[in-house]
Subunit: 344 residues, 4 copies
Amino acid sequence: MSRTKCLVVGASGYTGAELLRLLLRHPGVELVGVTSRQYAGSALTEVFPKYRGVGNADDLAFIEPEAAAMTKTGAEFAFLALPHGVASEFARPLVDAGIRVIDLSADFRLNDAAVYEEFYGSAHPDEALMTEAVYGLPEVYADEIKAARLVASPGCYPTSILLPLLPLLRTKAVDPATIHVASMSGVSGAGKKADPSLLFVECNESVRPYSVPKHRHLSEIEQELSAAAGEKVAISFTPHLVPINAGICSTIYVATEKSGAEIGNLLESAYANAPFVRLLGENGCPDTKNVVGSNFIDIGWAEDERTARAVLLSAEDNLGKGAGSQAIQSFNLMAGLDETTGIL
Amino acid sequence: MSRTKCLVVGASGYTGAELLRLLLRHPGVELVGVTSRQYAGSALTEVFPKYRGVGNADDLAFIEPEAAAMTKTGAEFAFLALPHGVASEFARPLVDAGIRVIDLSADFRLNDAAVYEEFYGSAHPDEALMTEAVYGLPEVYADEIKAARLVASPGCYPTSILLPLLPLLRTKAVDPATIHVASMSGVSGAGKKADPSLLFVECNESVRPYSVPKHRHLSEIEQELSAAAGEKVAISFTPHLVPINAGICSTIYVATEKSGAEIGNLLESAYANAPFVRLLGENGCPDTKNVVGSNFIDIGWAEDERTARAVLLSAEDNLGKGAGSQAIQSFNLMAGLDETTGIL
Amino acid sequence: MSRTKCLVVGASGYTGAELLRLLLRHPGVELVGVTSRQYAGSALTEVFPKYRGVGNADDLAFIEPEAAAMTKTGAEFAFLALPHGVASEFARPLVDAGIRVIDLSADFRLNDAAVYEEFYGSAHPDEALMTEAVYGLPEVYADEIKAARLVASPGCYPTSILLPLLPLLRTKAVDPATIHVASMSGVSGAGKKADPSLLFVECNESVRPYSVPKHRHLSEIEQELSAAAGEKVAISFTPHLVPINAGICSTIYVATEKSGAEIGNLLESAYANAPFVRLLGENGCPDTKNVVGSNFIDIGWAEDERTARAVLLSAEDNLGKGAGSQAIQSFNLMAGLDETTGIL
Amino acid sequence: MSRTKCLVVGASGYTGAELLRLLLRHPGVELVGVTSRQYAGSALTEVFPKYRGVGNADDLAFIEPEAAAMTKTGAEFAFLALPHGVASEFARPLVDAGIRVIDLSADFRLNDAAVYEEFYGSAHPDEALMTEAVYGLPEVYADEIKAARLVASPGCYPTSILLPLLPLLRTKAVDPATIHVASMSGVSGAGKKADPSLLFVECNESVRPYSVPKHRHLSEIEQELSAAAGEKVAISFTPHLVPINAGICSTIYVATEKSGAEIGNLLESAYANAPFVRLLGENGCPDTKNVVGSNFIDIGWAEDERTARAVLLSAEDNLGKGAGSQAIQSFNLMAGLDETTGIL
């Protein structure tokens, strides 16, 4: 397999680390550069001792995320694993230099500047690029992704909520005005920040909701739900922090007249050719431990005739299908590789 | 303080252990007996080395849960920490012997024999006692508890769901047909069973829903919600297992026209004199780590004007306010003690 | 019981929090003040929501750790829960103001200025007070503690290593030149510092040694071992960080000609009247979960005739017998109370 | 790459699961069978939902571990992931049928029948095969492994202790009479047994030594240490259970006159061509989280001039280098593949 030259921008956080884990072993990738403001000049394996001896990790050192230096790596693709608000500065020069970009931040996921400003508190710095960017959910936008210059890879909560719901909204099988979601995320989802609330002792033996009632990810969730439903959708969503390193579990209620079997048929039909969506059957319950470290999302569902509602249950790795491996799934499509290369 | 003679029946599980922890130090209690089929004849501290040197633990040995042996202890009160279905056999002889009983199982919590049979799969063995039993939620039934011969102490999920909702249902502030709940429980809630799915490796780094769509605790939750609402209420409820030893977090959605401030007023008014209900204010988020080891339940809430719903958030210790210390709170009332004795 | 006025200086860390948990409920204590540079002006319960409704917590606010403000509280005793190097500045003015001080830092634990400088890298700022201070291990220095103006409460690792070894060294039952120790500590032992290496994701699913080969606590450990042995003792000691919130486990090897039974006799004889030392018997293995939240230290031992060595095994709560409750044990002695008041 | 037909006998435990994870993706392996008494007849993915969609997992079902059925799979190699004492019954028929066997139990690791009986309590059922078996530590016995019919893959504790010590014993750099070891293992090391002491609540927030003073693995550890030292070696060894899923950390003391630099030279010289041994340098501390999921063992060391001892520190995945991936490393050698195939 020929190897495509790839660069990881902002490689020192948890998402960056997961990208490195996968790209260092990807048979279609040559990792030609890693950037980090904080660690520029350090060997990659000094920051990540766990990658000593893996692929070409021992030959790489962090460089500054400067346009010239990044272009000089010869990269054909760049993965941006940067904090929200930072990625939007980096995408433009890379794209202009002919490097195709897969951005893992929220910066380019919305297609409505007003919604961006409502949820992120300031105007988007590069509306043209935001509008051009393709939402990188391969189960929905594979064709657009293949051709894209800039892919905005979805967030972890959105992926876990969208994949179960989209086929049901598209087919009008559920009432879009009745969606209620509770999601539970591992702590890596909060990033590698020296924030006291993320210390081991503060998270261990702790479960807590946060960001009620209006988490920022609602904006992209509702954008995609609305597109599928063909009408404006607003949902209830509460994220919770649970003491696991990685993994997201979403529990979704929606009113429906469909039976469990009918819901199953709709999901199976939608994902018959989706290698990373695993349907667990009616009353099947997902478990984050079955998906962590992988690009799979597991989906179960149940009919509750007492309330005329369905409950949809999903589990994925917030750093995998919710971030790193999903971005590589898009990369595979963009690079003309089999969708599953290096991530199965 | 004079000491009331107490017996713990079925003291070797997690709920029993928490009762022992509290009763061994309770200034108004003399622990006169502990029973366990499995450990009869063993010293209490052999089974629970952690209680060596605490209170009179070194003087106690497990006895068989036989009526004669239990009566012989001179107990005035008995706490039943037995599996569901077993408690109903033990309550009758104790009550007949004049021993007041606080049962921590689900056996006596319902007041409708048909609902019992629907959810538990067989007829109740002692309907008369089931009907007599008082639902032991002190914030609601304090007067009835004081006079009761048999108190059915509520389950952990029900407590975490009822206390936030009841004041809002009683005042018609919310729409009872729109309740959606997701709860997350620590693993001790599943009991001390040698079940492979409860092994450390199976639970650690795992989050998973279970018992969808119709968990048994729905029966008592809906019974009490209906009583407060003055109409039949059916809700959506999904429990999740999360890797913490103890603690329950419940996230509850309900449609309402009330503002966050109005909801706060209703809760404050309901719990002004409830020493164990701590209201966190609008947009306040509870955290299980703040309540574990205590009898507190922490409650936050938020208004979501986008969906015309409120979200109610609660956290409690599933072994505390959800089991052991709540039972002692009832005991305190029954014994004429201050409600907080030994559990604050 | 009359209540002694107490002050906690530096109350916002993990040791401070544990002191508060105990002092707020201690029947012989009136908590009259809490200090914190960072949180001065904030209500205690704003920083520690878990103490809402407990004792007089709702009435307290953090004050600056200024001499005038601290004296004004009327405190008769002050607990210092400050970082090492900071406590030594605070002790002098408090002692001079007639306030008896229990310092939980390492600042006053040594009695040799040269050793202090060797291990801490600079001269001690107040040698006179360092020399005066009593090493606060109540099982060894109860009489001195009762009369002390300043008690230097031992560290968590030292307590877990000294209590098993001291009786054996004093009686020449073991060879002091052959001591090898491996200790495992919960993460709270590292303090509440926003250090990336202490983040949940960095500590969870991780076990790691650190500070090899010369941890600072060696200085006080060897000081006390030498005093007991009557000769200069140097030991091997490796601390490990393990993913638990609290708890220390120490495994100690030492050459001996004594049998397991003889070692048992020596330990039993030494600790016959020590309410917080629990001897587990020959081949008994301690478990941190049996001691966390308490002031107990559990000690087991085994004879290994194959190597003519004994292994001593101990477990304690690093925040309890290794910090907060041990300091209160000293307080109880100083205040003329029963040693176990408020901590059993 | 041509694919060698492999069978996993006893595939339902933790070691079996790790073997499956790796073999399903191994480019030189065709997994032709999995056995399990308990699950015979069930689809592999019913027992391990996490392997749905991976390799040929969806095509496999568990078969009974009967000789005829196993031979019929056409397997050229069999991995035995069976409990100790069971493997010895299965190896003979497989070997006789011309299937090369890699046994992950302790059954064939010793080469002295008397030692086996001392540590395991009964005579070995197949001494001839025990004597023939090669100890599967590829860093030591690569040549013998390549030619073996039966490889006895080392245990997790032994691997973590032997690899740091062997080069130092072989060169007489350390005193073999002075070895003291404390090891900490993740809970998967205890196997997937429905034993109450392995429940989540019993292991979480718990650290505890066990099997003092004479763990069974001592037999193979001392056999290999003695072989390297050229004299009989007895050591002190205490295993500890720590709340992580996977990982072993070993801390080893040994008297030496060598400096840290000299120890480093000896280790570097021994492992210059060992792709899975990563030397961390003097005073380098390993961390289980850097090796879990891999076949690496990380080794650090420090000189303690105060005691004339060295401390050696190692970390590995107990299911990886301590079990599954190490067995595959042997397989790679036996099958004539690059040692790292499928496990890097």
